[in-house]
């Protein structure tokens, strides 16, 4: 009885009693969700265009951020470091396309997934070798990102907004808008959309599949760098992020593998959901539930709607 009470009643009483705290939790979750969405976005880009389930997206985020920080640490000015980091991600995209994807055309998707796990290992090894394994602070100020915070007085309390969080939200928003424009307005973007539907159609636009793959990997490399900067600015740049990034997989389950809006909505649901769950129900399970909430939510979701929020129903043919 007490158990039921603590699950179904008391958390809600608590929410109502301290609405400012509730808002604060939602905001925290929202920001975390934005970052999940960004990682998931990187997944979706690649999955849509090449059918590859990129396990390495998390490590790409870490790798990009580390490259940026380390370059700056070697005395490269911040703006140049950003450009150089982008260059590295571009080279990575070309390398992956040339050395991996091109050779695995038409393979089973599980094989492709495993190849990206191999890629994860390579990037991790190279990253640690070049940049060192210890956590590093993000060069937030040098990049001109805001620090500090603003208090918002509401419901007899305050909700604290870190400026960097607001910046992250805005940047993420811009990122999504930019991608949307890119997909709808540019020739390459349209080809990318076409390739998701029909490989032949894309070829008729005059762009080879190989180019398209390199481009999407680069695009998700950019997304990774942005994600890395934002995430790093909120905490620090470390390889631990790689594990957290796996949550984006859960996001994808919710949002569907091929849907950009799905990735965003899914990310937000998971971000907010896990924070709320942790804060209001976590104690019940002994806290730390953030580690698995996303996956278990995804699992439950899978059982009832395997195609995701925005995915299409799959009809099997014999």
């Amino acid at each position: 009885m007490e158990m039921l009470h603590s699950i179904f009643v008391s958390p809600f009483i608590e929410m109502g009693a301290y609405p400012d705290f509730f808002l604060q939790v939602v905001w925290e979750g929202f920001v975390a969700g934005v970052l999940y969405s960004l990682i998931a976005l990187g997944f979706v880009l690649i999955y849509k265009a090449s059918g590859v389930f990129n396990f390495a997206q998390g490590i790409m985020v870490v790798f990009a951020a580390l490259a940026l920080v380390s370059l700056h640490g070697m005395g490269v000015p911040a703006w140049l470091a950003v450009i150089l980091a982008l260059g590295i991600m571009g080279l990575l995209a070309i390398g992956v396309e040339r050395l991996v994807l091109r050779k695995l055309v038409n393979q089973h998707d599980a094989i492709l997934l495993m190849a990206t796990i191999g890629l994860t290992l390579v990037l991790k090894g190279v990253g640690q070798l070049l940049f060192g394994g210890e956590p590093k602070p993000m060069i937030t100020e040098e990049l001109g990102l805001p620090t500090g915070s603003t208090d918002w007085e509401v419901f007899d309390g305050i909700v604290i907004f870190q400026h960097i969080d607001i910046a992250a939200t805005v940047v993420a928003l811009l990122m999504v808008l930019a991608l949307a424009l890119f997909f709808s307005k540019t020739r390459i973007g349209r080809a990318l959309r076409a390739v998701a539907d029909d490989h032949q159609a894309a070829l008729s636009v005059g762009i080879s599949l190989h180019q398209i793959w390199a481009i999407v990997w680069f695009a998700s490399g950019i997304v990774a760098l942005v994600t890395g900067i934002m995430w790093g600015a909120r905490s620090e740049v470390s390889f631990a992020l790689e594990i957290i990034a796996l949550k984006a997989l859960a996001v994808l389950i919710l949002g569907g593998f091929t849907s950009i809006p799905g990735a965003i909505v899914g990310g937000l649901i998971i971000g907010i959901g896990e924070k709320l769950f942790e804060v209001y129900w976590g104690a019940l399970f002994g806290s730390g539930v953030e580690a698995w909430f996303a996956y278990v939510l995804a699992l439950i979701f899978l059982l009832f709607r395997p195609q995701g929020l925005f995915g299409e129903r799959i009809i099997e043919r014999v």
């Binding site: 389930f53 050395l99 991996v100 050779k103 695995l104 393979q107 998707d109 599980a110 094989i111 997934l113 495993m114 190849a115 796990i117 191999g118 890629l119 994860t120 290992l121 390579v122 990037l123 991790k124 090894g125 190279v126 640690q128 070798l129 394994g133 594990i243 796996l246 997989l249 859960a250 994808l252 389950i253 593998f257 399970f285 002994g286 806290s287 730390g288 539930v289 580690a291 698995w292 996956y295 278990v296 995804a298 699992l299 899978l302 059982l303 395997p306 099997e316 014999v318």
Partner: protein
């Protein structure tokens, strides 16, 4: 070349369907067993047994478990580490409650708990496939890992949060705990691994194993041949998790001696997955090859600079071996998705058809 098979013929189906129908293979296996059970215990150093052979065998068993699920039944899993953890914690609790019952029995029993947990997390496999399923196994991984940390009962509320192995004896010889010699522990493990590999081979060539492969190769056709996906998939999850569970229990009780939740984290799961990929999906032999390769490679990489008299930081060798393993995984997936086992298979086929490049009939 070495396979001179002329004159080997089968007069019964039993002989024709034997695990090793070729005489030379039987001799080869005999030699390997001789080395494993006699030469290694007698001749090898404690370091070799404790740091190479024991971990290698533990990982082999885990790889067999994962290979059954992924390689034979076609269900990708990223939660091997957690299933091993279930075995380890179950064994720990069992020995706490029943300290007088033989530890070997407990190890084998603990696999059953792991199997049960595997079945629960295998349930989604009935509705979802492939990549989606990989994510549900991730859920298992993180959920179980969290359980190992947060549920104090599992580690008897130790302050350290770790499970520690008590000393246990078999025929008055210490086989677990600090005083058990590596050789004794090795003998226990090698016997178990040999036995369980044989069991796996038997199951895989029978009706149940065939039903897994049917589901893997063409699930629709399998169903139309009367295979019930529910039974086939869940039995694969159960059987696979059992092996992982026993491997986990062996790992803690016969190898590292004590363990915290981190010992069973996602990296551990991935490590076993790498062994399966590099060793060869759908091959028991591949499990041995993959485990040996992945386990020994970093040790070898560490040893090389030492031999050359160079002073290299331990972390660097780890990074280098990460890169090498990653590259090899990609290489194998591109060149030979069936891993080392297939390379061996091809080599063997070459030797069988030697001097011809291929079999003409």
């Amino acid at each position: 070349m070495f396979y001179r098979e002329a004159g080997q013929f089968k007069t019964s189906y039993a002989a024709d369907q034997a695990l090793l129908p070729i005489r030379q293979d039987r001799i080869g296996l005999g030699l390997i067993l001789l080395v494993a059970f006699v030469a290694v215990p007698l001749l090898a150093s404690d370091f070799f047994i404790g740091s190479i052979m024991i971990p290698f065998l533990v990982f082999t068993l885990a790889a067999v478990g994962l290979n059954i699920l992924t390689g034979y039944a076609g269900q990708l899993s990223l939660g091997t580490g957690a299933f091993m953890g279930v075995g380890a914690y179950a064994c720990y609790k069992l020995t706490t409650y029943f300290p007088d019952i033989n530890i070997l029995f407990m190890v084998l029993l603990s696999g059953i708990f792991s199997a049960a947990v595997g079945v629960v997390f295998g349930l989604p496999s009935l509705r979802i496939k492939g990549l989606y399923l990989a994510i549900t196994t991730l859920a298992a991984q993180f959920f179980l890992e969290w359980c190992f940390i947060r549920i104090g009962w599992l580690y008897n509320y130790n302050d350290s949060g770790a499970i520690e192995v008590p000393q246990r004896k078999l025929f008055d010889i210490a086989i677990t705990g600090a005083s058990a010699s590596p050789t004794v522990r090795y003998l226990v493990i090698v016997s178990l691994v040999a036995l369980m590999t044989l069991v796996a081979a038997n199951v895989l060539r029978g009706r149940i194993g065939r039903s897994w492969m049917m589901i893997r190769d063409m699930d629709i056709a399998a169903e139309l041949m009367g295979v019930r996906p529910l039974y086939a998939k869940l039995s694969a999850f159960a059987f696979s998790s059992y092996y992982c569970g026993v491997a986990g229990a062996l790992m803690v009780f016969f190898w590292i001696g004590s363990a915290e939740a981190e010992a069973f984290d996602i990296n551990h799961s991935l490590l076993v997955l790498f062994m399966v990929i590099i060793g060869g999906m759908g091959s028991l032999l591949g499990c041995f090859m993959g485990a040996a390769f992945i386990w020994i490679l970093p040790i070898a990489i560490r040893a090389v600079p030492q031999m050359l008299g160079l002073d290299v930081i331990a972390a660097t060798t780890e990074h280098v071996s990460n890169i090498i393993i990653g590259v090899l995984i990609i290489f194998f997936l591109i060149v030979e998705p069936h891993g080392l086992a297939r390379l061996w298979q091809i080599g063997k086929e070459k030797l069988r058809t030697w001097p011809f490049p291929y079999s003409s009939n």
